[in-house]
Symmetry: C2
Subunit: 472 residues, 2 copies
Amino acid sequence: MELTTLEEVLAEAAKLVEPTEPEKRRVSELAARLLSACRQEFLEREGVVDVSIEGSVAKDTWVRGREEVDIFVHFTPSAGKKMLESTILSVGPRVIERLGGRHWLRYASHPYVEGAVEDIRVNIVGCFKTEPGRWISAVDRTHHHTEFVRSRITPQLRRDIRLFKGFLLGCGLYGAEIRVEGFSGYLSELLVISHGGFVDLLKSTAKWQIPAFVDLTGRVRREDASKLFPNAPLIFPDPVDPSRNVAAAVSRTRLAELILASKLFLREPSIGYFMPEAAKPSEGEAETSSSHELLGIIFRAGEKPPDILWGEIKHTMKGVSRRLLKEGFQVYRSAAAQSGGEVLLLYELSSLSLPSLGLRVGPPVWLDNAVDFVRKTLSREDRAAGPWVDGERLYALFRRRHVKADELLREWVRKGQVAISRELVDRLINAEILTSHSGLIERIRQNEGFSAFLKNFLEGIATPVRHLVKRC
Amino acid sequence: MELTTLEEVLAEAAKLVEPTEPEKRRVSELAARLLSACRQEFLEREGVVDVSIEGSVAKDTWVRGREEVDIFVHFTPSAGKKMLESTILSVGPRVIERLGGRHWLRYASHPYVEGAVEDIRVNIVGCFKTEPGRWISAVDRTHHHTEFVRSRITPQLRRDIRLFKGFLLGCGLYGAEIRVEGFSGYLSELLVISHGGFVDLLKSTAKWQIPAFVDLTGRVRREDASKLFPNAPLIFPDPVDPSRNVAAAVSRTRLAELILASKLFLREPSIGYFMPEAAKPSEGEAETSSSHELLGIIFRAGEKPPDILWGEIKHTMKGVSRRLLKEGFQVYRSAAAQSGGEVLLLYELSSLSLPSLGLRVGPPVWLDNAVDFVRKTLSREDRAAGPWVDGERLYALFRRRHVKADELLREWVRKGQVAISRELVDRLINAEILTSHSGLIERIRQNEGFSAFLKNFLEGIATPVRHLVKRC
């Protein structure tokens, strides 16, 4: 069945993103029981002044199948970070156990307890109850965010928020974590609220240029915001705290993908934009045509919070990319994956080998160092030709000692000649550095997660448009 | 013997460039005889009003070994170009024969007679005697140039002009013909006169930036000259006709080479800068390391005046270069040679093959054609990966059908997809297109001139600094 009209697609999409009444009831009941148990256990502890439900359950804005109950335990500022931490870590697990769930620890800006009760994810988070603007921890704003959204939401906006979150999920754009660099739940809600609905929001995003600016407070001028957040591709001042950019985590690429997805969706609406599974690779082996010139780095991930690890991964990925470029390689694209305790950094180059002769670009003849360039070039052992003059500049050709990307990378890492995350230096030194000519593909297939990632990488299609590909 | 001081080098150089007294006498006597014979033969013809000696012999500024007698036959403007031409072509050869010499025809802007008497080159040129500014033919200014230089010259300037011309000859910078794109005799003389001597001129040129400006009239402002000659790397208003740039033939590269040579010479004076033979390749076979990736085009030159042919050669050379760049090749350098009736265009590339996958750079997502790029990419048969988004732009990888420079070039020429000189299209279609992997080197060695040229090309050292190379 072809879905053609926007209304039909939205009706179909609503079924995907809207929890059923029994599903909603089940989540509400669990949230109530969890709140009640937390109140009993926490309110008698020193420094605790309140316990509340926050997040998408509190706002009734979660996407079907992605329910997650956030309980916030509010401490008085005088309690201090140490008391907050020890109370959360000692009491939190007990509550989850009481309800028959499993639990584990997570670290964001400070520790919190994560668990699962009746197969629903639950988080028990400690925060300080402060006046707006006098924030102590990073999650102290959350309760105010919940209140703000609740004060503005309507049943129609609720449906549209779920549609937008479903759209973002289907397009691979949902999530503020560093691995994704996409749109947080709160930002999604504010975007829909500020535009009055899903379709009006998409009509707007389809016309955005980067940097984009949206203000819900009516009090922030674009020029001032641009000065405050000079490199942000998207600026959305937090209505709860206008000095903060709610969209700080959104990368240029993710924002551009939203703009593109909006244009495409409005021109030809399709349920595909709401289906993350449509973006998954098709069954079967990845095409591994030898024409792709791939360089891969595989190392053990180590035990780290995802945002820490992915910060290091992205920093390292860019550092290696820049070094390859500087040496003369053309880097077509790069991507990283984490699976089964291993990290894979993958680069596609125009060629895994550099030409054996390289061009050295010298100064214009009128600079003082022009004479030095002539003398040095003539005395260098690696001189292949030159110095010659073309236009106003000097040039020379030199003979490269190493031309293979994997050998060069191994040397740069060993000698500290590439900007990689300090925490990953040892792992990089001991990493497997492989190319598509040297068994990279075979090695990747040993890790199921990498295998699926490789397949997507080789197709190389932006997530929002992946469902447009005709499958054979 | 090491020459160290500037004075010693200049004294040595003066011996190279200054004709001996017997040499001067021999040239003067021949010039007098030629003038006398021309007066007898020409002055009785209709339209002829005067006969004079011009050029470096008239000014006593020729470089030893490069004597050349220019006889100018002046016609009244009313004579017309046809009469001038027929008179020169019928009478000129007779005069040369009378003196026992050989002769042949040359074409510049109009025909003239070239010959050799007693092994000295002679030219018999027709011009119109006009008021300054009312020029009819391109050589009508010449007599005024001669007069201007004579009016400003001194014995010391004469020596310095010869030194400067010798310096330009040694550095491969002398000659306004299109093949060289260097400094004419008249420009050389004006440069020395305007700076008061050779060393002061070099002190000045060593500090030049491009564009450079020299005015001897004191009446031309730099801003006005820049507007009149917007792309000229060197502007020198003709004292005889300030609306003309005496340095119009000088290319950016030749000017930059003069700047570089001046700096190097002043820092470390050497007789090498005055010795063209020092710039010649050393004996023996050219180094033909396979690491040089060479693309060569060889075709028959045809019978054409050198400036016409070289205009076509240079235009074609640039057109092919641009096309190679556009396709994705990196062109390190290019050069052309003419020898034994054949022309060779030679290119050094980073690689003679392109990667089998190429990057297609699409528009930023916010442009209307972003959607087209996505759709077209997904439907293209040559799609290897993409479309993906990076930053604000779309990208894709495509599979190349042809990757070899010689095969691509053959196709472009055949299909008219490369900007080459119209007069050379047929020659290019039938040209030999060879690479260093396909017998280019062997083919080049069949032509002695090309063989020497290849050797210089592979060394790739700018002529002014070639004598600095330590020979083994």
